[in-house]
């Protein structure tokens, strides 16, 4: 499966509060974030309002319009069963986006909590946690996916769990390394000498400073999850139609590449757009959160 690329954390002491209005405005005024939203928002709107658009439903077959190239009637063309690809793509976006965000959220939350605990307290907790993450990292994600799908059946939950299970250890390790390097920083030492409580140190000084790289990693994980789901679909382990994920659409269409390029290429292009804007979003967040790379 695709490698989750987690950009190296910028080891900086930045004081930034997410919930502040100021932060949100700065985020929204970032060019990359704007670009990402310009792509994501219309796609999401179209997805949400798909039932009201003048296009056939994603499951409606039409034996009189089989394998038709893109036209004004079918903007993305039709597949072998005469189903409208645009409609199917939009339905697929819904599913794929859900998978992406569910994986990102799950990995981020678990990674944040466990990684902070491991990094901050060290000792036995750290060792046990690292051993467990090692075991999971050393376990091919594909096997995890096959196992989960076999036990739970094919569906949204096993796919999200399978992808998250291989992401979580990476998030824990990332968070741990962030906490480790922050803990050894001089200003934390200073705070320690004034006998600040552990809790206060963690919540006020350490965790907020790890959010930037974690969020960056999360948005990339979301983009990756969409692609990994596509790969799982290719191996027959992904989310099953008739409600199609984007991965399914590409898979179904890829063997028709020579006769009907649009079946897999157009949904593929939409995946690309979404994934790219998620990367832009991650870049934007990093730029806003890390003043030094904001140039």
């Amino acid at each position: 499966m695709a490698l989750i690329s987690i950009p190296l954390p910028a080891h900086r002491s930045i004081q930034f509060n997410f919930s502040s209005l100021n932060g949100t405005i700065r985020l929204l005024s970032n060019r990359r974030v704007q670009l990402a939203l310009m792509i994501l928002v219309p796609i999401l709107l179209l997805t949400v309002f798909r039932p009201f658009l003048p296009i056939p439903g994603p499951l409606e077959t039409n034996l009189r319009a089989m394998t038709k190239p893109p036209s004004f009637v079918h903007l993305f063309g039709t597949d072998r069963m005469g189903r409208d690809i645009l409609s199917r793509t939009l339905a697929g976006v819904q599913i794929s986006m859900f998978v992406g965000f569910a994986v990102a959220l799950l990995s981020l939350t678990v990674g944040l909590v466990m990684g902070t605990l491991a990094g901050f307290f060290g000792g036995v907790i750290d060792r046990v946690m690292m051993t467990i993450t090692d075991i999971f990292l050393a376990f091919p994600s594909l096997l995890l996916a096959i196992g989960l799908v076999s036990v739970m059946g094919t569906g949204m939950l096993p796919v999200v769990l399978a992808i998250s299970l291989s992401d979580v250890p990476r998030f824990i390790r990332l968070q741990r390394s962030l906490v480790l390097s922050l803990r050894s920083r001089a200003y934390i030492d200073a705070a320690r000498t004034v006998k600040a409580s552990q809790m206060w140190l963690m919540t006020r000084h350490i965790v907020p400073n790890t959010l930037a790289p974690l969020l960056v990693a999360a948005s990339i994980a979301a983009a990756n999850a969409i692609l990994v789901e596509a790969g799982l679909s290719f191996l027959g382990l992904g989310i099953m139609p008739p409600a199609p994920s984007l991965g399914n659409l590409i898979r179904d269409g890829q063997t028709y590449l020579e006769q009907a390029w649009w079946i897999s290429t157009l949904p593929g292009a939409v995946i690309l757009l979404i994934a790219i804007s998620l990367h832009f979003l991650s870049d934007g967040i990093r730029q806003v959160l890390d003043p030094r790379s904001r140039k």
């Binding site: 190296l8 051993t131 090692d134 075991i135 050393a138 376990f139 596509a230 790969g231 690309l272």
Partner: protein, 315 residues
């Protein structure tokens, strides 16, 4: 350092044991066993049970587990459950293929992404974001294309239309020319995803170093831009880059599954998927143990490198 290494080795052992146990029980929790995997459309339940007894699959689980651990302790990896072939032989036969793909991919990736990332960082540092954006953009698009799709497109273009590379054919180390032609496309497909990652990390690391004082000093001492970039900046940014390369090697072994399937290469991924599909417990367990050991070894080395180079990190 010695105590640390020893502690770490104990931890490694625990990790591998954990993986062994996890895989053993996961495989048996999953519905279906080697016999049901073999059954096609004309074998009855009674006929299958007959074979099950023959293969010792009806023994109690703890007995099977202890037998397995006992054999593992003396490095006896056994034979495949259904086809009775020695597993170590199969893995040793498949390893060269997968390792060639992985090494080829790393080679191509490093060759392209390090200069690209360095250049992008330099441009960004100089305030010219144009090239930076183009490089990042192109790398991103390549990175995000599903490998099973790009594989087929590559086959259609390079194999069918241009006829540069064969789509099938035997691979072996004895025939390096054929091996190279056969792994060229998978390497290309896998590199697409890796290049983006590595170029981004190179760019970030080099950009950070370019802002450091000593680079400024080097520059003010009159070194040429190229010299500063490659001798000072890149060298000092090398650590995270090397780490990522190490980690991605472990990941590549995992990622070759799809390309091995499409390009019909008899590598480790092929064995793993085949083993999973035929529920060949012995095969999957052994592969995972191998995989875990490689992974753990890479991790160990990475940790050591970190420790040597970055004394701030405490363990």
């Amino acid at each position: 350092m010695l105590t640390y290494s020893f502690k770490r080795l104990v931890q490694l052992f625990v990790t591998v044991l954990g993986v062994v146990t996890l895989v053993f029980f996961t495989m048996r929790l999953i519905p279906g066993d080697p016999i049901s995997a073999m059954a096609g459309d004309n074998l009855s339940g009674a006929a299958l049970d007959q074979m099950r007894g023959q293969m010792g699959l009806n023994d109690p689980l703890p007995v099977q587990y202890l037998t397995y651990l006992g054999r593992l302790a003396v490095l006896d990896f056994g034979t495949t459950v259904t086809t009775k072939l020695p597993i170590v032989g199969l893995i040793l036969g498949a390893l060269p293929v997968t390792v060639s793909i992985a090494l080829g991919t790393i080679f191509l990736t490093v060759l392209i992404s390090i200069p690209l990332g360095t250049l992008a960082a330099y441009m960004a540092h100089k305030g010219n974001r144009m090239l930076d954006n183009i490089i990042t953009g192109v790398a991103m698009v390549l990175d995000l294309m599903p490998p099973f799709w790009t594989s087929l497109v590559c086959l259609l273009i390079f194999s069918l239309t241009l006829g540069w590379f064969p789509a099938s054919g035997t691979v072996s180390l004895d025939d390096p020319a054929m091996l190279l032609r056969r792994i060229a496309l998978p390497v290309l497909v896998l590199s697409m995803a890796q290049i983006a990652t590595l170029a981004r990390i190179t760019r970030t690391s080099v950009l950070e170093v370019l802002n450091e004082d000593y680079v400024r000093t080097a520059r003010s001492m009159g070194w040429s831009e190229l010299h500063v970039l490659f001798r000072h900046a890149l060298k000092n940014a090398a650590l995270p880059i090397v780490t990522v390369i190490g980690l991605s090697f472990g990941n590549l072994l995992n990622g070759t599954v799809i390309v091995e399937f499409i390009f019909t290469l008899p590598g480790i991924g092929n064995l793993l998927v085949g083993g999973m599909n035929s529920r060949d417990y012995q095969m999957v367990q052994t592969l995972i143990v191998f995989y875990a050991m490689i992974f753990v070894a890479i991790n160990f080395t990475t940790d050591l490198i970190y420790r040597v180079f970055d004394p701030r990190v405490q363990f």
